[in-house]
């Protein structure tokens, strides 16, 4: 192997690096390395002149490899690898030494930071000295997409992708698509009916020739990688054949089991056999196994007896379906922060204290009260209603540190809806701040105050409790400095949004990261807001963070655009840093075969053979092999060995 001619390019990053690290000393030290033929520092290596200077240096000095000491490889590894390729050398002989995030930004002492930057950079130089020139591997892709979650985000993404001509499998956990948006009465800032704008999209999904809808289904297992995922889905039995069901509703009449209706958040009840709501897609009944008396004609069997269409089948079994897809959109949504955790507001045990979604159901024409706002305890029209914002949000000490973003707006909407239903009623809103950024949003809040005469009180509610058939609300108005006491007929809490249980489960199954609050982590907070850290998996809607409907729809369409872009060609470039077998050392012990999470290794004539398309380069094989007979290209054991030495050389 001929000795490398490496160029080292030390970036100042303005003063981000140069203020803490002695960059000229670093460049000088690197010049002393055996394999380094060229070394310089420059103020902004990633700028156009910076990148061009790298290209020039490569050409003039006949360099075959590059080390850029700069920020995290997550930011500019691709930039500099592409740049190296423009200069005619393999991008895979370019490595990044992270001396910003891992050094200059976390240390103040210049000598210490410089010494550490030298070690980090030297380590990269030694690694590059044994890097191979590699070219990406072209992998055929599966031009199908899976969307997980059938709320507005999942619906929008599915339609956009399907309209681009790609096949979509939409998986929804519940018996119908629609998600939380379907529970809403009206939407801000236009006050148009939520169902009226969503239902047509749901119907479009069900009729779209490119969309396969799988409701009452959960993703169980995902294997493979970008371009070629294999997803195992469990289809739970509904015990009703949707093709045969005539929607006559006879079964619910005879069903003896009454349980709270989830769609109405417990404000109404349903039977064990039920249709979630009249416009459900798919339009069919579901027999809820958990509350049914036993799926057994001996124990009950009333619904089966009465069903003339013969649509009910107690012997229906769960089905596992395997789908191959090239990309996945995760749109698993949010849950409300549980009222039980809000001890100061009675932990959900005070009558007539509702959460925002319950209030939506009270306002909705299809809801419990057929669109009349009546308080649950006595079905009377409430005359004094208190809305409390930021319940669970912006409270790092006890609840969620973050702002749930939509509550200011939906509380204003609630107050207005209430006033439209009960014109002689009084609406009070307790708030900390009003955040109404968005087109038409501020005007909407102003109308709530002015047109609908909602009383906005700046301050928090310290306590509420039941007193004389009303809910006594104790709070302060921090603008007047006075204590406020309201005997309310009803209280509506604007509870924080939190990642849904399905989001948590999806993160586990898909192995995609979550942020500190449990929402799915985007690959970059600014520049890659719809990509997950894992290639080929995209994020949409509230699973990624609190957002309103327009923003959710935008993100869903953005994710769809990314998917369409990814699958626009028949092949994808697969990183060539895959495992390679040193055949003379391999004894065929099969340990790597067992250890490989991707089943990318097999034995052939007693030696391990790597399927480079399946290999993701994790190195589990290499760590398990007793003979160092299998290694990941460009992260070989010898390279790590040299890096260790570099880290310990003073």
């Amino acid at each position: 192997m001929t000795k490398k001619r490496t160029g080292v390019f030390v970036c100042h990053c303005g003063t981000n690096i140069a203020a803490t690290v002695d960059v000229s000393r670093l460049a000088k030290e690197m010049a002393g390395e055996e394999t380094v033929a060229f070394s310089r520092d420059y103020v902004y290596m990633c700028s156009d002149p910076g990148q061009n200077s790298v290209i020039e240096a490569i050409k003039e000095n006949n360099l075959d490899s590059v080390v850029v000491t700069c920020c995290s490889p997550n930011l500019h590894e691709k930039t500099f690898r592409d740049n190296a390729a423009r200069a005619g050398i393999s991008g895979f002989t370019c490595e990044i030494a992270n001396i910003r995030e891992q050094c200059s930004w976390v240390h103040k002492n210049r000598d210490e930071a410089t010494a550490k930057a030298i070690k980090i950079s030297r380590s990269a130089v030694r690694r590059v000295a044994r890097n191979q020139s590699l070219e990406p591997i072209a992998v055929p892709v599966t031009r199908r997409v899976m969307v997980i979650g059938g709320g507005i985000a999942g619906i929008q993404a599915s339609l956009d992708i399907a309209n681009a001509g790609l096949e979509v499998v939409l998986v929804e956990k519940l018996a119908t698509i629609g998600g939380h948006m379907l529970q809403l009465s009206e939407t801000f800032p236009t006050l148009d009916c939520s169902q009226c704008i969503l239902s047509p999209k749901m119907v479009e999904v069900s009729r779209h020739p490119k969309i396969t809808l799988m409701t009452y289904s959960e993703v169980q297992e995902v294997s493979g990688a970008v371009g070629n995922f294999r997803v195992k889905i469990l289809q739970k039995p509904t015990y009703v054949d949707p093709e045969a069901c005539k929607l006559c509703d006879e079964c619910t009449v005879v069903c003896p089991v009454v349980v709270p209706n989830e769609h109405d958040l417990g404000l109404t009840s349903r039977r064990a056999i039920h249709i979630p709501f009249a416009q459900a897609i798919p339009a069919s009944y579901t027999l809820d196994e958990d509350s049914c008396l036993g799926l057994n004609p001996i124990r009950c069997g009333k619904c089966k007896d009465v069903c003339e269409a013969g649509a009910i089948n107690y012997d229906m079994l769960p089905k596992t379906v395997v789908e191959d897809v090239g990309a996945i959109v995760v749109a698993t949504g949010f849950d409300l922060y549980p009222q039980e955790k809000i001890l100061e507001y009675g932990a959900g045990n005070v009558e007539d204290v509702l959460d925002g979604l319950q209030f939506e159901r009270l306002c909705s024409a299809s809801g419990a009260t057929k669109g009349h706002v009546l308080r649950p305890s006595d079905q009377k029209e409430p005359k004094d209603v208190v809305f409390i914002q930021c319940v669970g949000s912006r409270d790092p000490a006890q609840h969620c540190a973050y702002c749930s973003k939509i509550c200011c707006m939906y509380t204003a909407k609630h107050a207005r809806l209430y006033k439209h239903h009960v014109p002689d009623g009084r609406a009070y809103v307790f708030y900390i701040d009003i955040r109404s950024g968005g087109k038409g949003y501020e005007e909407f809040v102003q109308r709530a105050m002015e047109e609908d005469e909602t009383v906005y009180l700046r301050g928090r509610v310290s306590k509420l409790y039941r007193k004389d058939g009303k809910v006594r609300v104790l709070g302060t108005d921090t603008l007047t400095g006075e204590n406020v006491e309201i005997d309310a007929d009803m209280v509506v809490l604007a509870l924080a949004m939190q990642p849904s249980k399905g989001t948590e489960e999806a993160a586990k199954v898909l192995k995609i990261g979550r942020d500190k609050d449990g929402f799915l982590a985007e690959a970059h907070p600014k520049l890659k807001p719809v990509e997950s850290v894992t290639g080929g998996i995209y994020l949409a809607g509230c699973a990624q963070g609190p957002k309103d409907i327009p923003e959710t729809v935008s993100q869903a369409s953005a994710a769809a655009a990314k998917v369409i872009g990814l699958l626009s060609s028949d092949t994808l470039n697969h990183a060539p840093t895959v495992a390679r077998v040193r055949r003379s050392h391999c004894t065929g012990c099969e340990m790597c075969v067992t250890a490989c999470p991707y089943k990318a290794i097999r034995l052939e004539n007693g030696k391990a053979v790597v399927n480079e398309v399946l290999c993701e380069g994790c190195g589990s094989c290499s760590a398990t092999c007793l003979r160092a007979a299998i290694e990941v290209k460009n992260v070989t054991q010898l390279q790590v060995f040299d890096m260790i030495e570099a880290c310990l050389t003073v």
Binding site: R583, H585, C589, M591, T594, L603, T624, L638
Partner: protein, 343 residues
Amino acid sequence: MINIQDIRDTARDLLAKGEVRAVIGWRAGSRGMPAEPVVITAPEQADELVWDPTCYHNLALHLVEDRKFLAHARKTAGAPIGIIAKGCDARAIVVLMQENYFKREDVYIIGVSCEGSGMIAEWKVARQLDGAVPTAAAFAGDEFAFATAAGEKRLPAREVMADRCLECRNPFPKEHNVALGEDKTGRALEAPFAALARFETRSEGERWEFWQRQFDRCIRCFACRSVCPMCYCEECVVDSINIAVAPETTAEEKANRIRWIERSAVKSENITYHMTRAIHLAGRCVDCGECERVCPVNIPLRLLNNKMEREARERFGYEPGASIGGPSLVASFRDDDPGAFIR
């Protein structure tokens, strides 16, 4: 008790019928005692075979040698090879098969049970015989019978057995084609890992002092490695001088040899060598104790390997040499593997 004639008859029969091309066993040593490994290829050689308390060698090593010989000579095996195997030998064979070093059908295992006793430790015998030099040893119930110039001497087996045999739980070769002797699986004359448990009561400083004293003596003769059936690698990761050069070995491979430690016997690196061995034997070592027996400077190597064996057993429910089809210790995991040490 096993009648030696049964072993000889089995071996003779297999060779005569051509069911095996050779039988690996023991014959009387050139000095009478101890026995020595032998590979017999003709039925008439079967009468040379012996079975006595000095058959301590792990014969699985000779299976490894056989495969290496065939590979170097570029020959195919043809008929299977027969091997006489004690409990520990058979476990070693299972691990080798688990690692595909040879196929089950290529080996004919004549299992021999150590029954109620095991192999001798020569230093214990010497201590008990007051200087008399035994020329032969034989099983005799709970005792061993030694032939000496002053006539037969009998010693209680437990007094002169090797430590590993005292702690042995599996004196019966579970994996076999034919087995001779009584199955005493589960017997341990001393509590398993007894010596290890005693050692672990020492403080960190005492442990270091102990091991430093042990490893300072190591002369890196690599006898431990040479005698170990599990150390079948052509090139050892800690001693990559003898790179395996095969037709497929590339120039780059030759250039990119990893020198985890230097070959020169720098004392401070002895320990890295032995730790590497212990790690590489985790889940593979069957506690035949041969490394410790052959060590010319008496380093208690079993202690190291026992430590790994016990961790595998207690933390991961893993028993080396228990199953040919099962996954290797370090290539597999369980969801509830201990992780409390991780912050």
